[in-house]
Point group: C2
Chain length 497, copies 2
Amino acid sequence: MFEAVEVGRKVSKEDFKAREPELHVQLLKAQRSLRKQGTPLIIVVAGVELAGKADVVRRLNRWFDARGVENVAFWDPTDEETGRPYYWRFWRRMPTRGSISIMFGSWYSRPIVEHAHDTINDGDFDRVMDRNRRLERMLRQDGALIVKFWFHLERKEQRRRLKKVRKEGANIHLDQQAQFAERYTDLAATAERAIRQTDTGECPWFLVECGDKRYRDLTVGETLLQTIDHFLEKGNGNGQSQAFHELTPIDIAGADTTILDRVELDQALDRERYKEALEQHQSRIRRHAWEMYERRRNVVVVFEGWDAAGKGGAIRRIVAAVDPRLYHLISVSAPTDEELAHHYLWRFWRHIPPAGGMTIYDRSWYGRVLVERVEGFASAAEWQRAYQEINDFEEQLVEHGTVLLKFFMHISPEEQLRRFEEREKTPWKKHKLTDEDWRNRDKWDAYVQAVNEMVSRTSTHFAPWHIIAGNDKYHARVDVVRTFDETVTAALKADKD
Amino acid sequence: MFEAVEVGRKVSKEDFKAREPELHVQLLKAQRSLRKQGTPLIIVVAGVELAGKADVVRRLNRWFDARGVENVAFWDPTDEETGRPYYWRFWRRMPTRGSISIMFGSWYSRPIVEHAHDTINDGDFDRVMDRNRRLERMLRQDGALIVKFWFHLERKEQRRRLKKVRKEGANIHLDQQAQFAERYTDLAATAERAIRQTDTGECPWFLVECGDKRYRDLTVGETLLQTIDHFLEKGNGNGQSQAFHELTPIDIAGADTTILDRVELDQALDRERYKEALEQHQSRIRRHAWEMYERRRNVVVVFEGWDAAGKGGAIRRIVAAVDPRLYHLISVSAPTDEELAHHYLWRFWRHIPPAGGMTIYDRSWYGRVLVERVEGFASAAEWQRAYQEINDFEEQLVEHGTVLLKFFMHISPEEQLRRFEEREKTPWKKHKLTDEDWRNRDKWDAYVQAVNEMVSRTSTHFAPWHIIAGNDKYHARVDVVRTFDETVTAALKADKD
């Protein structure tokens, strides 16, 4: 693969000077266009040591208007980062719509280094590459432009530069660079594997020969310009799959039965047994929450459900047993403008708990396939691809060791009406009822369909949905608290085994 | 001080039940009013161990609408936090306008514990308390409501509870609690000292007797209700000093001479000496930037100055010598809505560099006393009190070990006009010129006055202003780069001595 960038290309000083001013102007213009149409641009800068990555980035900072360009390096992860899934540190540095992020190494560095040092095997490496590819496709489909550069340097030339740097002594990474230089062949093999697997039409890699600085920089500049211009020409939709399937009800008797029809809504519990069960579970949760904290195990709980289905009441029964210093409750409402300037999952990633912490989402990323679908805020292509995006996201949480619980609180429309009327009459509940709640009732059937599909597509073995029969509050709360208790207990037991 | 809350107050179950529902409704109402008028509420929860702070907070979470309430605990600082000034961790958790933050311990815990354990002396402790007081006043003046509770428990009762908890064994903090219990007297003395010094009319402490849980919770609820109602009655301005002085020009010959008149704008450098000096400084900066990184010393650089005065060019000459992985350039433009929902310093605090990093602010917090003053975006009271707020902020940076540099790039109005006209003609500079730049020229004299006052009030021995004669670009750039180089070199030298 790398032979093609070991051919000794050079650009003369004169040729560089003749081209650079115009390239500079065109890149500025391209940047303005991206900003105007709200396209985030991610430039991945990866490659062999001493190829001059920092110099290229310096040049790009000069070519682009520095306002709106961020250089992002990923050094050793901080403890806030290691306490969360691997991709959290990348999510927190994602560019906002219309701005540019130049990412050193990005999500490629660590797996490449680990694989070249044989600390992860081929299978694990390929899995990470698959995940990278999916991340990039997801961002691309959300309107981002991603351009990836691999900076290559012949082994001989790298050695020569290493010697020179060693003499100058002005580089803190000298030891690391020397180590990597020794592993040149392994790293090259791994890099090839990485590039091969993640070089897609939508987010391609560009190999850059780095023997000559002027050739290197001009190549990067021209490539960026071409890629951006092409993107702009094709319109914002370029790379965004608009594909979706049409949902036509199938005409078979019983085909319109949904998962919610199977919920036995008449389950109930008397007050005495409710109190007893509640206390029993809560006392165990109280203890286990601290144990989870000690073991640095995170918990993420998602609550979805009909308006007035008892989400708040169930949440209160959980947190009543958890020290308020340990959990964080996120009530999802309208996104802020910083949130709107990112992929829809960003606003949930930012609240992923630190090691040993717990985040409870009162409504969640499932809004994408529920309210956004039903209200038409998301296009069919958007909400249909969200299922996989969500499954990928949740898989990452679980792989990190997060205990993930998802509850859907179900009630009948009649029970909902009764509760709405009750809320109107109760002084400390009145504030919970909005006009929107009444409007949502009209779309009950559309929501049922959306819930059914959500469960069928996102109830996975690592993150199953718990559908709670909510007509009887006592029953519902105990069911939630019991499920929570049992799941955490099982996780702790597995931890100790 | 604490005798007054050791009198054995109790509330019967019946009295509690008789009052609670109404209190609940009124607190909800109060919360809605605060939200409506965009008042952030900070509830500080501090006090002796085992007084039941977590239980009170749990109750508050039930009384308030959980949407818009955040419980914030400050455990051991993370490495991202220890790499920055002490208050950074509090700034990052400040409530947005209209929401409630319940802060455990907050900015009081660490100094109290340290003082009670004799790791800081009285003088240092008092300085921190002074700083706390100033922080609170600043937030209050920005429209926040701050209510501080100190939860007190008699020594005997604390011992009794400790025994009980020990038996139950469901508390991870048992060891710490036992330790603190042993230091009861020292902690009480320090707490009294803290409360005495920070119990102001605008942000008072409320001592709460905690022998009886119902009395404790009801007291907190009623106190909050009263305080919020009082705040709402007095209007948003309550606690916000509207005081300012009128600036009348003094009628003495020469009184209108400003600091900018003293700048020798005809200083110039020829191209050869420019190149030589630039290279010399840049090569040292290149080396020292890595050394600063190794020593975990942060750098913050502020650039202010007239439009087209050469801020961008000077910044480029610095960053040309710094590895792009080490610095972060913040170009200050319109705040996002998340930024607007906080005190104006928040948007600058959030970009304070991590250990060993560098942040360059292209325009900065000084906008408050420059553009916001001149354009009338900030009231006289607001921009006049900003000088002290800024000095306090910068003092914290410097005390943390940050190397802080502030440059004001000065040019004559004639030179500015020349540059505007040049920009219009140069393809890759055209984008920099906006209509606003032309409008700002009309306010030249008002800006001169604002700059003069800014320098006179914020050029401190720990953070002096460097006013750069900018008519000649070569001279200006070398002056900036030399100042930067010398300051960093001196800091490293001092570090080693």
